[in-house]
């Protein structure tokens, strides 16, 4: 039953893919996550199977009493097939750890994918709210409210001096992770991205690649988040990132302007070739797709590709991921088949306006 409702999600575009919101040409999404634990159970690493079941029941009851069951998708991760778990990871609705770990655990998902609540991940409860574009204040207000609503009937583990108690001391205090996902292709091309990293690290902000490990970013997407969670209020942490992101946006815009003024022909050529390959390839890997889509996305922002919109591109980034492809095609695919399926999906979606491409079939 849950699997069927996840299929519903496939057909829709979640919140952060909308490509709207402030600074949406560069800022993909803003996200805040809060880590909370119930005071009367051990942390997850020490929780017995019975504990986990009781924690899940208590939190499920609380969550469903706040949001009507019809407005929420509550899923038992253990009951899901691998491809559905992976799908939720690709949508940023659960973490990879949540998909791959063991034991009783669940997630409550908003059908519009603005928020999700993970139960029994690294902490008993991890609340997450996301919004398209740069919108940290709005995201904070929403998550603050959800947190208060849950806390009305449960007792969180909280310490006078150390704040909200978490399984790992790296999250103690506010238990809050603030992240903004940015698309920075021009900074990569002009080789300034390393400089940006270093200056962010100096102010205790972490930079991670989307779907990548460490600083290797696929598709030129970078996620900036706070590392410190204790000793600064939630407002302060949001402010710190909120003040830093516009500076990076400015750098990226200036780098894009530079590219347009200094090498417009080369840029246009790069973007056009990327668009060309995506529209005609018969087999294409995930890595190459991300790489080319990044150029195309930049091209769309710069007005070099008039017949595509940002929400379409955002959707392509997600729908060409492995689990999405399999759910869309309705069958299990190995890597080789996925590459063919991916190419077919891209051809279908990028050639809509042009009708049939010569002798090409779908």
């Amino acid at each position: 039953m849950a699997a069927a409702r996840i299929d519903d999600l496939t057909r829709r575009s979640g919140e952060w893919l909308r490509g709207s919101g402030p600074e949406a040409d560069i800022v993909i999404s803003s996200r805040v996550r809060l880590a909370r634990n119930l005071a009367d159970y051990p942390f997850i690493s020490r929780a017995t199977a019975t504990d986990r079941t009781q924690i899940e029941e208590a939190l499920r009851e609380r969550i469903l009493s706040i949001v009507a069951a019809s407005d929420l998708l509550y899923v038992n991760i253990e009951e899901l097939e691998g491809v559905d778990r992976q799908f939720l990871v690709e949508r940023h609705l659960i973490s990879r750890e949540h998909a791959e770990s063991e034991g009783t655990r669940a997630v409550a998902i908003d059908p519009r994918e603005k928020f999700s609540l993970m139960v029994n991940e690294e902490d008993h409860l991890r609340i997450q709210v996301m919004q398209s574009g740069l919108a940290l204040k709005s995201v904070w207000e929403q998550i603050d409210r959800i947190d208060d609503l849950i806390e009305e009937k449960v007792t969180y583990a909280f310490h006078e001096q150390l704040g909200y108690l978490t399984a790992c001391p790296t999250n103690v205090g506010t238990g809050m992770r603030v992240s903004v996902m940015l698309h920075l292709p021009a900074l990569v091309i002009t080789r300034q991205i390393e400089k940006v990293f270093r200056s962010l690290q100096k102010i205790n902000l972490a930079v991670r690649g989307l779907y990548g490990e460490g600083s290797q970013a696929m598709g030129d997407f970078y996620q900036i988040s706070n590392q410190i969670t204790l000793g600064r209020s939630e407002q302060k942490l949001i402010e710190e990132i909120g003040d830093t992101v516009p500076v990076i946006i400015d750098y990226e815009r200036k780098a894009r302007d530079f590219l347009i003024s200094e090498s417009r022909e080369n840029l246009h050529d790069q973007v056009s070739r990327a668009y060309g390959i995506l529209r005609t390839a018969r087999t294409i890997s995930s890595e190459e797709t991300m790489h080319l889509l990044s150029s195309v996305r930049m091209g769309v922002n710069m007005g070099l590709i008039p017949d595509l919109e940002i929400p379409d591109i955002n959707q392509l980034f997600i729908h060409t991921q492995p689990a999405h492809l399999q759910k869309i095609s309705g069958s299990e695919l190995d890597a080789t088949d996925r590459n063919i399926e991916r190419a077919q999906y891209l051809r279908r979606h990028l050639n809509k306006g042009n009708g049939a491409n010569g002798a090409e079939k779908n």
């Binding site: 634990n37 119930l38 005071a39 009367d40 159970y41 051990p42 942390f43 997850i44 690493s45 020490r46 017995t48 019975t50 504990d51 690294e122 603050d144 947190d147 208060d148 806390e151 009305e152 007792t155 969180y156 583990a157 909280f158 310490h159 006078e160 001096q161 150390l162 704040g163 909200y164 108690l165 399984a167 790992c168 001391p169 790296t170 103690v172 205090g173 506010t174 205790n204 972490a206 590392q227 410190i228 969670t229 204790l230 000793g231 600064r232 209020s233 939630e234 407002q235 302060k236």
Partner: protein, 168 residues
Amino acid sequence: MKCQKCDKPATFHITELTGGKPQELHLCEDHAREYLSSSSDEPSSKSSMAAVLAQQMVVGQTAEELARLDQQACPICGMTFYEFRSQGRLGCPHDYACFLQQLEPLILNIHGESEHVGKAPRRCSGGTEKRIQLIRLRREMKEAIEAEDYERASELRDEIRRTETQET
């Protein structure tokens, strides 16, 4: 005493406890810094949290002191400090109170601060203390059942019910 890597005097005495047998290192400031920073990671994954901890703990302590610290166990969940050092994850909320002395420098190292500023639960911040007892009670009940001491298990279950329904 001379540094084990050069001729300068050893000012850092480090006890390594990875692998069970304590190993004592005596290094000058430069080699100590080099040694300690050679395996520093982002403290965001389990093993690197444990690594940060290991480094944090071993500077300036003897093997006996560390062994004593390691054996300390939380009265609520039973987790020992050694277990925490190995996995980088705490066992229950009470661990923060129980191991506060050891955790504070670690927390200061990670966050640059050791006092929470910001949001607190609306209803009752002191509620944690009472609820934590439930962790111990449930653990004891499980142990009583395992030991087939059903009378004690039954007593504990009643006590748990009483505490659970007590609103904070």
